[in-house]
């Protein structure tokens, strides 16, 4: 999330050339997007299958009983972490491509990170609470 006006006079020319590119992150973003995409594929197949068979139309007791099972809790936590990280990376690119006002882009990029971090933590806490307390 390097901004255009960020002063980079402390970087050597070699340092800048060594692969950090225009955003200062090199290929990390691209690689992380692919890794989470690969992880998302089986996780979302599981999630859709679970929603169809266990979640759709479930009563409170039914859903909590299903979600409290260790395997379901683990897969749900993995789904949330992988999908939300993938979503944060994806929406970051959209913001970088379409928002041309540097100030607005700055807040949008911070907002994306805060939103997905907060919602992911909220989900993980909720899943653990259901598993341990009911």
């Amino acid at each position: 999330m390097k901004l255009k006006w960020k002063d980079s006079r402390f970087d050597s020319q070699l340092g800048r050339a060594k692969g950090l590119g225009a955003t200062g992150h090199g290929v990390d973003h691209w690689i992380h997007q692919r890794i989470t995409a690969v992880a998302n594929l089986p996780l979302m197949i599981w999630l859709v299958w679970s929603v169809v068979h266990h979640v759709a139309g479930a009563s409170y007791e039914e859903f909590v009983a299903w979600q409290a099972q260790p395997l379901n809790a683990i897969l749900m936590i993995l789904s949330v972490v992988s999908v939300f990280y993938h979503a944060a990376l994806g929406t970051q690119v959209i913001a970088e491509d379409y928002i041309h006002n540097e100030g607005l882009k700055f807040f949008k990029l911070i907002g994306i990170k805060l939103f997905f971090s907060a919602t992911a933590i909220a989900c993980v806490f909720s899943i653990l609470k259901i598993s341990f307390v009911g």
Binding site: V55, G57, F63, A122, S126
Partner: protein, 132 residues
């Protein structure tokens, strides 16, 4: 400074508006659009999990919305978006590995993605229907 120079009227090279939309380009922007829609759809998952952790009353509010016409319409939209993004994501994996770049194959894979999106969406909603 950049604010100032942006206002200078300079001739611009022709961009998207000079091209006829093609299936490949439309599918490309749809991948982004569905990805963005799905990232908003995460709110539904967050709501479900927090509501279930909070108790029966909060869960009932979620269940009522999810089962309402608006809720079902949104869920249908997110199902289409999920399967499109998933199938087209697999198409992207093939491109990342260096396959399907020939025009014919790129188009053919695109049609497969569109067909699979429809088939999977219909199949899932048929399975999820209480009267199926």
């Amino acid at each position: 400074m950049s604010e100032q120079s942006n206002k200078v009227e300079r001739p611009l090279s022709p961009h998207l508006q000079v091209y006829r939309p093609q299936m490949t380009s439309v599918m490309s922007i749809l991948h982004r659009a569905t990805g963005y829609a799905l990232s908003i759809g995460t709110i539904m998952v967050v709501w479900l999990l927090i509501a279930a952790a909070s108790g029966p009353e909060a869960y009932a509010v979620f269940a009522k919305f999810a089962g309402s016409n608006i809720g079902l319409f949104l869920l249908l939209g997110w199902t289409v978006a999920l399967f499109y993004h998933m199938c087209n994501g697999i198409r992207h994996f093939f491109w990342d590995m260096g396959y399907l770049f020939e025009l014919k194959k790129a188009f053919r894979a695109g049609y497969v993605v569109l067909a699979m999106t429809v088939i999977l969406t219909v199949w899932v909603w048929y399975c999820a229907c209480p009267w199926s």
